[in-house]
């Protein structure tokens, strides 16, 4: 199969593409654009950050992503910028000039990735309207301590880009058929509608769906696995819709976490904060809400919060649609209520009522770009001091993201008091029997999860309960 994309405005055609060849390897070892670096080959360090542009109307929507786990065909019909794109004649742009002058690089190996993440911020890339430290959460630097890099990000304003020529070429490319094809025994499909996807799944029952490849990418780069049939969901516009209403939010399964961030924050600030802490920006720019659910991780991070908010999932196949509560989707470790020929189509999250008291927390060794030890969501409805409803769900506490029925029972019908919350915390310990692993011991998981109930109560009393919102005494 062949792949077409625009690099620095020029159309690049790559023939004989292995569907699971990564963009990073192609850049480095075929095109010899070696400015983009491999630091980890699993999307955790950001040294391979590039900007990928999607045509959206008459503009290009740029997104910073990790090239190391981006399969080449995912680039088909899109535009690409690498670090070499920014100073083609050797003249540094203002961001680069600032970074070069202020000590933003020491060993320099991570630097191209930082340049690309910050450049994305300078040109209004998707998801980049965050504080600099958040934009850089997916870029690791081991030398500098980050200070000069953060300063360079803060000091550099918007930069002009003229993408009009790129827009014209991408529009022309859009009219070409999608990049489906094969390489030897390996097949790649890129359907453009949900109906076409349903047909493909019916025909290829061993097919693996891939959206952002933030999970499947590692099967290839770390697991060294071969995947015979891949169906790419990134070209299905229907799956990328976000419909917000007073009643709630419906998201297509292909909505990237970065694109859902604002809608989630409007559902509840804690859900916005949780979203900010899912992966780095490069991961949220690739990883989708549907993928996060469909892959059945025992942790989440989205599912526990969605369950507590009462989310419903819609699956679709050639036979039709099924809708279920999200908690019913997760059957057991690695086992979900999805037939091989079904796909997750959309997620419905009702908007919490005015009486809702919600706390969503992610506990991890590091705040940014880490996988949770415990990810919990507490959703209480309190009428005149009495708890009338409770939905509690945790990830990292069982084989699947799961509700806490005993804890919920200890809350419903009780006054919203510290005593009630302490009883509920005790009850929660009977709801789960977590494992000990590298992310936390069973004892820590139980203690911290139970304490989240107390944290919610103290927060409602106006106490400071988050170290992230504190200022130093230093003035």
């Amino acid at each position: 199969m062949s792949v077409h994309f625009l690099l620095d405005g020029d159309l690049v055609e790559i023939a004989n593409v292995d569907p699971t060849a990564t963009l990073l390897d192609h850049l480095r070892y075929t095109m010899r654009r070696t400015g983009t670096k491999e630091g980890c080959a699993e999307g955790d360090c950001g040294a391979c950050t590039v900007l990928v542009g999607d045509l959206e109307g008459d503009t290009i929507q740029w997104r910073a992503v990790n090239a190391c786990i981006l399969f080449l065909p995912m680039l088909d019909g899109r535009a690409l910028l690498t670090v070499e794109s920014l100073a083609p004649d050797g003249a540094l742009n203002p961001l680069q000039a600032c970074m070069a002058a202020n000590g933003s690089s020491q060993c320099g190996f991570c630097t191209p990735g930082f340049v690309m993440s910050l450049y994305g911020r300078c040109v209004g890339a998707s998801g980049h309207d965050l504080p600099v430290a958040d934009v850089l959460a997916g870029n690791l630097c081991r030398c500098t301590g980050y200070g000069p890099i953060l300063a360079a990000g803060d000091a550099t304003g918007p930069l002009e880009r003229d993408d009009s020529a790129t827009v014209a070429v991408l529009k022309a490319l859009r009219d070409k058929p999608a990049a489906s094809g094969h390489h030897g025994d390996r097949r790649w499909f890129a359907p453009r509608s949900s109906a076409a996807l349903a047909d493909l799944l019916a025909d290829y029952r061993d097919a693996r769906m891939v959206a952002g490849a933030t999970d499947v990418g590692l099967w290839v780069t770390k697991g060294l696995r071969s995947i015979d049939t891949l169906i790419f969901l990134g070209d299905i516009a229907e799956l990328q819709a976000i419909d917000e209403s007073p009643a709630g939010v419906r998201l297509g399964a292909g909505v990237r976490y970065a694109d859902a961030h604002a809608a989630f924050a409007r559902l509840h600030p804690d859900l916005g904060e949780l979203t900010r802490r899912i992966g780095g920006l490069q991961v949220r720019n690739a990883g989708t809400v549907g993928g996060n659910i469909a892959n059945g991780s025992p942790i989440g991070d989205g599912p526990p919060a969605f369950i507590a908010l009462g989310a419903e999932l819609t699956l679709r196949s050639r036979d039709g649609r099924r809708t279920m509560t999200l908690e019913d989707y997760f059957l057991d470790y690695g086992k979900q209520d999805r037939r091989p020929w079904e796909f997750v189509e959309s997620l419905w999250i009702p908007r919490p009522g005015p009486d809702a008291i919600i706390h969503i927390a992610k506990l991890s060794r590091r705040f940014d770009s880490d996988i949770s030890a415990v990810c919990g969501a507490i959703h209480l409805t309190v009428d005149e001091g009495m708890i009338s409803a409770a939905r509690i769900a945790f990830g990292g506490m069982a084989a699947t993201p799961r509700r806490a029925p005993l804890c919920e029972a200890a809350l419903v019908g009780q006054p919203f008091t510290l005593a009630t919350m302490e009883q509920a915390a005790a009850a929660l310990r009977a709801d789960y029997a977590p494992l000990s692993d590298v992310r936390g011991s069973a004892a820590y998981r139980l203690d911290a999860a139970a304490n989240l109930l107390l944290r919610l109560w103290h927060r409602e009393q106006g106490q400071a309960v988050s170290v992230l919102s504190l200022d130093a005494v230093h003035g």
Binding site: Y29, R32, T34, G35, T36, K37, E38, G39, C40, A41, D44, C45, E84, L86, G90, A100, A101, N102, G103, S105, C107, G108, F109, P112, V115, V132, A133, D134, A137, L140, R142, T144, G145, Y146, G147, P148, L224, L363, F367, D368, D370, I371, V438, R439, G440, Y444, D447, A448, L452, L454, R455, H458, Q463, V465, S466, V467, L468, A472, V473, H474
Partner: protein, 769 residues
């Protein structure tokens, strides 16, 4: 020598940015993996041990050999010379020979047409093992008395008697974890065969000469047949001092055997499994003190997990002992250091080289004394500082350059330590869930390789007839800015702009027998060697000019406006052209050996260090007593770099070192399972600090002073010392935990790293006391 020359005297130095900065930000800086690849180049991967300790009964590599893309497979039997990639002891095998001693150890080597093919094939071996008993932890190794060398003892006075007589005493212990270097550029080496058995290696190593010598030995060649080149590393931090040799030797073996270029670019997970780390330590102590908190006696036990081989562990553990005093006078003291042999990857150099572990031990003891007496920890620290009449380290060296008291006093004022301590106490009294802590901790770090003969360096300066200059020295560039510092030294000798100086890759065919770029010594040693080389040329030019223009040598001046000889003035380029025609040699080598140091390791007495670098930091932290989460809120640093060679570069080292130290003590946790397998072998599970972990408030000031020793520009080394400033974070976290029970006169039990889980446990334990 140096004092005769005005250029040597302390000069205000311009802070040029890193010489490669424009290349870094454009992606044009070439690392070892970035050059064009020859068409017939081979890619390599190791087959790794699945066992911590086992005898290899049989190996069936037929599936490996038959795998797609595989060209050749090598085992220990294929090594023509020494099967050894160790720095000192001869006990690190390139490929295991009959026995494996840790998980991940290289057993065989696959050469294939792509990296992926090599890695896939390496997983196809069928190896029969006979498992042998394995020591995996400090406790197990202690129980088995499994040591890499005899236990070392450094002592003064009679600690036992002083303890018995002290008005107060405490016994304590705690653990601190190791640390993965997590250089962003993994281990990589490219070997290219030359004619007549020669090999060229492009390698990411801090120690090109060692790689050269090991490869020569391994191939049964002379060192002169092997050339190692390093332009830059994508980070190293000690992790490429000895650990690069394994990958370089593998590449050299394949290049030599096949006649084809061979590249070993190690996968991140394999790198983390296969390469050594900072040593984990267990600390035990008995400390005697008076009512004010003066330490009267200390019995300190340092036990470290060294891993399966010796590597640099003796020197690393020596340095832990050397820094167990930090800035404090310890009248009667005994420091016992156990170096434990375990069936885990052999631990190695890491920024600070044992110093952080020794220093954390004594700082925690200071906190323990203060907590027991109910005193402010800073007050206890201050009364224990070295001072007149109490200025000799436990190893017998007089602390002649002690500025810790003044430096601490200034930081205490500038960072408003006392007012903030009071404000934090008030905050804690009103905040049931979030607790804050603050701490000021000092650093005194000894500069020199404690293995005395390593304190030498060579340089080669080439001046061309157009007035441009090439500089080469034994130091390697790993991001620390060594090259730009040394270039500035050379530019200043000739009084030319720095852009006249072309910095070139470190190569063993230009400067031989170099020491590793390590021990923070790069600029001290190589800067002085380059200075000496440049001065040799300048002296020749001076004599030539005096002869040519009939003036005295003293009438020749190199100035930014040109070279003046009596009444004549010419540009440096004109001078070089003239000197070339006048048949004056414009190339010279330079050499430097640190004077005045000597150490008797058997007695653990002497002067191991040329001088000390000092610093102090105040850290303010907050913890969540319900989840154990923490945040470093504010950091103020005052650090001593003498008269700096490059202010911006030095501040970058201080900030980067601090954050790396913060990571060691907070988020970075190495977890091995009960089979000796490292579970945290990728950035998915091993968490170095991110941008948001940098405290929102961070100030870095430089101490205004100069080195009492005649170092280059009276500067001080800066690579390692700032790492230990982060001990203030750990101390502040301990105080924040203590705030959950302010009336308890005891130090909360807390091991490092202070993960959320450890902090939460410490909170509940401390509440229960």
């Amino acid at each position: 020598m140096a004092d005769r020359d005005p250029a040597w005297r302390v000069l205000p130095k311009p802070s040029h940015p890193h010489d490669s900065a424009p290349l870094h930000v454009t992606g044009a800086a070439r690392y070892a993996d970035d050059g064009p690849e020859p068409a017939d180049m081979l890619h390599l991967a190791f087959g790794q041990s699945a066992h911590a300790h086992a005898r290899i009964l049989s190996m069936d590599l037929s599936a490996v050999r038959a795998a797609e893309g595989v060209v050749q497979v090598f085992t220990a039997a294929d090594i023509p010379g020494a099967n050894d990639v160790s720095p000192v002891a001869g006990d690190d095998r390139l490929l295991a020979d009959g026995e494996v001693i840790c998980v991940g150890q290289a057993i065989f080597l696959v050469a294939a047409t792509s990296q992926r093919a090599a890695r896939k094939a390496a997983r196809l071996a069928k190896i029969d093992y006979e498992p042998l008993p394995a020591c995996l932890t400090i406790e197990a190794a202690q129980a088995a008395n499994s040591l890499i060398e005899p236990t070392q003892r450094m002592a003064r006075g009679d600690a036992d008697a002083a303890l018995a007589n002290a008005p107060h005493s405490l016994t304590g212990s705690f653990d601190m974890g190791g640390q993965d270097h997590f250089y962003l550029e993994g281990q990589v080496a490219l070997a290219t065969p030359g004619e007549d058995g020669q090999i060229h290696l492009l390698c990411s190593t801090q120690h090109p000469s060692e790689v050269q010598h090991l490869v020569a030995h391994m191939l049964h060649r002379n060192s002169a047949d092997v050339t190692v080149e390093v332009r830059r590393m994508g980070g190293a931090f000690g992790g490429k001092e000895t650990q690069a040799a394994l990958f370089a030797a593998a590449a050299a073996l394949v290049a030599d055997k096949t006649g084809r270029p061979a590249k070993f670019r190690c996968d991140r997970d394999d790198d983390m499994v296969m390469t050594g780390k900072r040593h984990a330590f267990r600390v035990g102590y008995d400390v005697g003190f008076d009512a004010q908190g003066h330490v009267l006696a200390l019995r300190l036990r340092l036990a470290s997990r060294c891993g399966a081989t010796v590597d640099l562990s003796p020197a690393i553990n020596d340095r832990a002992m050397f820094h167990a005093d930090n800035c404090y006078w310890l009248p009667d003291v005994e420091i016992v250091s156990e170096r434990l042999k375990t069936n885990t990857v052999s631990d190695t150099a890491f920024r600070g080289f044992g110093g952080p572990q020794g220093m954390l031990a004594i700082e925690r003891i200071m906190d323990d004394v203060a907590a027991h007496l109910g005193h402010d920890p800073l007050a206890v620290r201050c009364i224990n500082l070295y001072g007149p009449g109490r200025d000799v380290a436990p190893y017998g060296m007089t602390i002649a350059d002690n500025i810790a008291p003044q430096l601490i006093a200034r930081l205490r004022t500038d960072a408003r330590y006392d007012a903030r301590s009071a404000a934090i106490a008030a905050f804690n009294a009103a905040s049931p869930i979030i607790k804050k802590g603050i701490a000021l901790t000092p650093v005194k770090f000894g500069i020199s390789f404690t293995t005395t003969h390593l304190n030498q360096a060579g340089a080669l300066v080439l001046v061309y007839a157009d007035g441009s200059i090439q500089i080469n020295h034994g130091g390697t560039e790993m991001g620390q800015g060594l090259y730009i510092k040394v270039a500035q030294v050379v530019a200043d000798v000739f009084a030319v702009p720095i852009d006249r100086v072309r910095i070139t890759a470190t190569r063993t065919d230009k400067v031989p027998n170099t020491s590793a770029t390590a021990a923070s010594s790069g600029a001290d040693l190589n800067g002085m060697a380059a200075y000496n080389a440049a001065m040799t040329i300048r002296d020749r030019l001076t004599a030539f000019l005096a002869r040519t223009f009939g003036c005295a040598d003293t009438d020749v001046h190199f100035t930014p406006e040109g070279v003046i000889a009596g009444t004549e003035r010419l540009t440096f380029a004109q001078l070089c052209r003239k000197a070339h025609i006048g048949r004056i040699s414009l190339a010279a080598t330079g050499f430097y050996a640190t004077p005045g140091i000597a150490y008797d390791r058997a007695a653990h007495q002497g002067r191991p260090f040329y001088y000390f670098a000092y610093g102090a930091a105040v850290s303010e932290v907050a913890i969540d007593t319900l989840t154990g989460e923490h945040k470093v809120l504010a950091v103020d640093i005052l650090h001593d770099v003498g008269r700096w060679l490059n202010r911006q570069i030095d501040i970058g080292q201080i900030e980067g070192g601090f954050i790396q130290g913060q990571g060691w003590l907070t988020t970075e946790e190495l977890i091995f399972d009960d089979q000796g397998r490292l579970l945290t072998h990728s950035p998915a599970t091993y968490k170095i600090p991110t941008a948001s972990d940098r405290p929102a408030h961070m100030t870095i000031s430089l101490w205004d002073g100069e080195n009492v020793e005649p170092t280059i520009n009276r500067s001080k080394a800066v690579g390692e010392p700032p790492f230990m400033l982060a001990i203030s974070v750990f101390s502040a976290l301990t105080r924040a935990v203590a705030a959950v029970a302010p009336d308890v006169r005891a130090l909360p039990r807390l091991d490092a790293p202070a993960t959320p889980e450890r902090i939460l446990r410490a909170v509940s334990e401390h509440r229960a006391r």
